[in-house]
């Protein structure tokens, strides 16, 4: 049964199409390992920065009926300790690892790349979703095609690993940004990062629920936004896409694939359906394939491209 879910991603055979995305269950080698054991075909590290980051004070997550807000604030142990966890994971598992890194300028991204080159990671993911740094036109880095181009190009020149650009949904023209990444040499895209951000208020205490006040939206509420952006990007580009954003059940994953995703990320749903969510969704994908007479994952059709 499992064989039917095999696929290829950047030349590597991937046994299962689901990806553990950055920031979910990935602070330790054992978190990556349990996710892989539960059916993630690829796992991603927490976005690592040059120095350790404490992140924001709590509450760092806020739940509402349609998803989560989070303001973990890119807490991570720093690139050195982060890579130690990844190497330790690779000692025990064949599952490919995406090393996610975060910075706000080309220099730091390059430094991070040099570290990652020496690790046992399989892919390098650039978290390009920073909304707090602006280019010369006052456009946030995440939305600046020029900044994205510069960073990806610089990293591409020195990276030993294939490069995945992780894109923010909070931009006017996703295709412009994605094309900049592709032109600069990105081998694949990962999208979408969290939406918004948003805010929730505790009405009894008249306070924002998150101490950071604002937090990115994830979970079911963002699925339509993810599908739209993935579809637009798939229609215009030639590199593969890891699609994510609100995938909770098998049918969500099918939607992602039809919108253009090659692999599908499952993050917030770990909360809704447990760490077993990967195997649950794998099974649901197989059920969908049975019902609709698709033999293999790659037989699932994509939408006609946008013109």
């Amino acid at each position: 049964m499992r064989k039917r879910l095999k696929t290829k991603f950047l030349g590597i055979e991937v046994n299962l199409p689901l990806v553990l995305p950055a920031g979910i269950m990935d602070m330790s080698f054992s978190g990556l390992d349990i996710s892989a054991k539960n059916g993630a075909g690829i796992v991603t590290s927490k976005s690592l920065t040059l120095e350790p980051r404490l992140g924001h004070k709590g509450p760092v997550v806020a739940e509402f009926e349609s998803g989560l807000l989070n303001a973990v604030g890119l807490c991570n142990p720093g690139i050195v300790d982060g890579l130690t966890e990844i190497n330790q994971f690779k000692e025990r598992s064949d599952t490919p690892v995406i090393v996610s890194v975060f910075a706000t300028n080309t220099d730091d991204f390059s430094k991070l790349t040099n570290h990652v080159n020496k690790s046992r990671g399989d892919f390098l993911e650039l978290n390009l979703s920073c909304p707090n740094v602006f280019d010369e036109f006052g456009i946030p880095l995440a939305a600046s095609k020029d900044e994205v181009f510069k960073i990806v190009k610089a990293v591409k020149e020195i990276s030993r690993l294939p490069i995945i650009a992780k894109l923010s949904p909070n931009v006017y023209d996703i295709v412009e940004i994605a094309l900049a990444a592709e032109k600069a040499g990105a081998d694949a895209l990962c999208m979408i990062n969290t939406v918004g951000p948003g805010m929730l208020i505790n009405t009894k205490m008249v306070k924002p629920v998150l101490f950071n006040k604002f937090g990115g939206l994830s979970g079911p509420c963002i699925k339509p936004i993810a599908l739209k952006l993935i579809y637009q990007t798939y229609s215009a580009l030639n590199i593969p896409i890891i699609g994510m954003g609100g995938v909770t059940i098998g049918e969500d994953a099918i939607e992602m694939i039809m919108a253009g995703a090659t692999l599908v990320g499952v993050g917030t749903a770990v909360y809704y359906r447990g760490i077993e969510v990967f195997d649950k969704i794998n099974r649901e994908i197989i059920e969908f394939m049975d019902e609709n007479n698709y033999d293999n994952l790659e037989d699932i059709p994509k939408l006609e491209k946008l013109k």
Partner: protein, 272 residues
């Protein structure tokens, strides 16, 4: 179950200089060892074990350690705080002869557990340890439960002299002394529960190798809903906020990080 509720503090009881019990009027429906995440929205949301839970009241017992707990200590009855939970696994409710070994601010959880065990017909013995008399917790409350309590302090200022580990060793080794309890299968207790500082649990582990037990762990918690991965225990990837904080013997035995290191808020390993 994980929805946020915002409650007025209904009662505050001073236990020691550094420890207070806060009670809330709410039907939390928690089990022993489960915890809540508590915040005042002024910075920080922290895990606290339920130290008692009846149909409409529950309480937590807090030790003042850092910024957050210091602020909490300034709150008064009637002030609002906001909680999520109860989260996590709870203690197995055993029958027969059971031993509870507790140290420090982890003892109050055993108050709640003892009540539940007694209701279930278990014969409870509790070793209640602290460093010194002033830090010794809940001895009065526990004495009212009608269970056997062995109070102990490291310096002998209250109860027996010695650590919980010393007392346990004595109890389990000196068959003569413990004769009356000993059972045919060589186990003195049907089940053992441990809650306290990690190094205490680590020291107890070899002593308990013939017993069935559960340990209550603590790790840095952020989300408490099983996604941030900050609270996982190596090498199993067990999330203490979901599969824990109580872990059974067969899992404890596989934990390579137990007594070796934990992770701070950045995820960095901190050696014990």
């Amino acid at each position: 179950m994980n929805k946020r509720i915002t409650l007025k503090i209904a009662g505050i009881e001073r236990e020691t200089n550094d420890i207070k019990t806060y009670s809330f009027k709410h039907s939390l429906n928690a089990q022993p060892a489960q915890f809540i995440m508590l915040t005042d929205f002024e910075g920080g949301e922290k895990p606290f074990s339920i130290s008692d839970c009846t149909e409409d009241v529950f309480s937590i017992t807090v030790k003042r350690i850092g910024e957050f707990t210091t602020r909490l200590f300034q709150k008064r009855v009637g002030d609002y705080v906001s909680i999520r939970g109860a989260f996590g696994s709870s203690f197995f409710v055993s029958q027969g002869k059971v031993l509870l070994i507790g140290g420090g601010y982890a003892v109050p959880t055993f108050y709640f557990l003892s009540k539940v065990l007694k209701e279930n017909g278990a014969e409870v013995t509790l070793i209640n340890g602290a460093r010194t008399k002033d830090e010794h917790l809940f001895s009065e409350k526990l004495s009212k439960l009608g269970i056997k309590v062995i109070n102990t302090t490291d310096d002998g200022t209250f109860g027996e002299k010695g650590t919980s580990v010393d007392i346990t060793k004595r109890m389990l080794n000196h068959h003569s002394q413990a004769g009356a309890w000993e059972r045919e299968n060589g186990k003195m207790f049907d089940f053992v529960y441990v809650s306290g500082p990690e190094m205490m649990m680590k020291a107890l582990q070899p002593l308990l190798k013939d017993h069935d037990y559960e340990f209550l762990f603590e790790r840095y918690m952020k989300c408490a809903i099983g996604i941030c991965g900050n609270c996982t225990m190596d090498p199993l990837g067990i999330r203490l906020c979901v599969e824990g904080p109580v872990l059974p013997k067969k899992l404890v035995e596989q934990l390579t990080e137990f007594g070796q290191y934990h992770r701070d808020a950045t995820g960095k390993r901190i050696k014990y």
